[in-house]
């Protein structure tokens, strides 16, 4: 992949004693990756989005927008210890549909070979594939299991981290604390894109790798402010009722998504011996605003490589654990319309789902693969799962996907 454009002339000018076989600086390389994918479902009643950060989504006709992407990365080393990584990605997001955006841009300084500090725009290390979730060639599915991964939709943050590695026998331990902020654009069905602030981001990821095993555990927290119109109008109407309706002020503050604590705890393990792949992750999203449901989610994948073809099966689940209805306003009283509005709004946060996915990855070339996948999504009463839809739009949906991944 490292399609090296060595600045030979520059390097020669900077290092007159430049020995033929030695590493020379600056060492600049350009590389990239991409996915061309199509996805369709068997319903027009809802739209399948792979993340809450995507507007709209796939229906009954093939749609190339949800999963396709193209990315370019510049990797530079200025000295043995100081480097830069910049990555531009064009994919479907709330605002800049397929207009390239800066996904990473950070400086890395290696204090020792196994202790580095980094600063800039970087990946948030939450789940096992958080840093590589866009790199289709590196995983077997068309997309990392959405029942878990759509619970942590942000892909980067602005701030700093420390990466510390420690080999202990045959095991390599990695500890990565980080802090910063993550402003994120969230699409809205009722108005323009909502710039959402995730401030005071702080977290830590601990990983271990030994022989065929990799495990990761992580904790993430932040302060959320979501200035969406729907939430703001519900909150303001409830606050007007506060002097006369018992519990209205309390409900308003439970809904109000302003400076609310979010947390995510995750643990995962992967076994890959070259033929058998077994991988599972669990996560818990904690939220102190009713505009974002608290969830428990998990997936488990089994795959087996027959030469260059790997069939795999994944079972996954998202379960909402927080309340999805209000009991302050009566559905038949004078504020029935507001009660219905609140229940509808909370209902759309019901992301519960069970998914069984079967697929196969065919490694066509070293740097190209082809994938097909069938997801059977079951939605419990009133749940919308990953769909942009009205609660209760379907009990089960089939999602069909095909993808071509490449790196260069």
């Amino acid at each position: 992949m490292a399609h090296r454009i060595r600045a030979v002339v520059l390097a020669a000018a900077l290092a007159p004693a430049f020995a033929f076989a030695q590493q020379s600086y600056p060492d600049v390389s350009f590389s990239g990756f991409g996915t061309l994918a199509a996805v369709r479902t068997d319903t027009d009643a809802g739209q399948y989005a792979t993340s809450v950060l995507q507007p709209e989504g796939a229906r009954r006709s093939w749609d190339v927008r949800p999963d396709s992407l193209l990315a370019g990365q510049l990797t530079a080393r200025f000295t043995r210890d100081l480097g830069f990584v910049g990555q531009l990605v064009a994919n479907r997001r709330a605002q800049d549909d397929f207009t390239p955006h800066v996904e990473w841009a950070f400086l890395r300084y290696a204090v020792t070979p196994d202790f580095a500090v980094r600063g800039g725009v970087m990946a948030v290390p939450i789940l096992m594939l958080s840093e590589s979730r866009l790199v289709g060639l590196s995983f077997p599915w068309v997309r990392p299991p959405t029942a878990v991964y759509s619970q942590v939709p942000i892909t980067n943050f602005r701030g700093a981290d420390v990466v510390y590695r420690k080999p202990v026998g045959d095991t390599v331990l990695t500890l990565q604390p980080y802090f910063g902020k993550a402003p994120t654009d969230v699409p809205s069905s009722t108005g323009p894109v909502v710039r959402t602030d995730l401030d005071h981001v702080a977290g830590i990821a601990a990983s271990a790798a030994w022989s065929e095993w990799t495990v990761r555990a992580s904790y993430f927290q932040c302060d959320l402010t979501y200035p969406g119109q729907t939430a703001a109008s519900l909150v303001s109407r409830l606050r007007q009722l506060a002097p006369t309706v018992a519990g209205a002020a309390d409900l308003a503050s439970r809904i109000d998504p302003t400076h609310k604590r979010l947390s995510y705890v995750a643990a995962g393990a992967s076994y890959d011996d070259g033929r058998l792949l077994a991988q599972a992750e669990v996560g818990r999203l904690g939220s102190s605003t009713l505009m974002l449901a608290e969830t428990n989610s998990w997936y488990a994948t089994l795959g087996y490589r027959f030469g260059n073809v790997m069939p795999h099966v994944t079972v996954s689940r998202t379960r909402v654990t927080s309340t999805l209805t209000q009991d302050v306003l009566s559905a038949s009283g004078p504020f029935a319309d507001l009660a219905a509005n609140i229940d509808t709004t909370l209902g759309t946060t019901n992301v519960s789902q069970r998914v069984v996915a079967v697929g196969a990855r065919w490694q066509v070339l070293r740097n190209v693969d082809l994938k097909v996948q069938w997801d059977h999504v079951q939605l419990p009463d009133g749940a919308v799962g990953n769909f942009n839809a009205s609660p209760g739009f379907a009990r089960s949906v089939n999602v069909y996907s095909a993808a071509l991944d490449f790196v260069f």
């Binding site: 992949m1 076989a21 990797t75 840093e131 866009l134 060639l137 080999p167 045959d170 390599v172």
Partner: protein, 140 residues
């Protein structure tokens, strides 16, 4: 069955690569490290560690993709075929976690790079082994 499969793979490798059935992993003669396990070599080449066990910084030197000795090396040391190595480095590189080892064009250049850099580690045919580098691991 897996044992039979493994034997078939090994036989296929021998047929595909009769000249490179034996290779050695080498470091600079000044390097205090005297031997490594296959797993320690793999961890250096996969970028999981940046230094020798009990030693200083490690700079792995690779042969170009598609070189039979390279495929043999990764199959024996890391139990990964060329596509799996590519997928692994795609994940590491594009998550900003590291870059694959520097590649040089030939076994002669691997030797020259290792002989000229106290932190370097490389792999070469046993037949190419001489006093300019120090053997720390071998596979038959």
């Amino acid at each position: 069955m897996p044992r039979l499969f493994r034997a078939l793979v090994a036989a296929a490798a021998l047929v595909a690569c009769p000249a490179c059935a034996e290779f050695v992993v080498v470091v600079n003669p000044k390097n205090p490290v005297s031997s490594l396990t296959a797993r320690q070599v793999a961890q250096i080449y996969l970028g999981r560690v940046g230094s020798f066990a009990g030693g200083g910084q490690a700079t792995p030197i690779d042969l170009p993709e598609g070189t039979p000795l390279r495929d043999e090396f990764y199959a024996k040391v890391a139990e990964k075929n060329a596509g799996q190595v590519k997928a692994y480095w795609s994940k590491q590189l594009f998550s900003g976690n590291g870059t694959p080892p520097r590649e040089v064009a030939s076994i002669a250049e691997v030797k020259r790079a290792v002989a000229g850099d106290a932190t370097a580690i490389g792999y070469i045919d046993r037949a190419a082994l001489d006093a300019s580098v120090k053997e720390i691991f071998s596979v038959r």
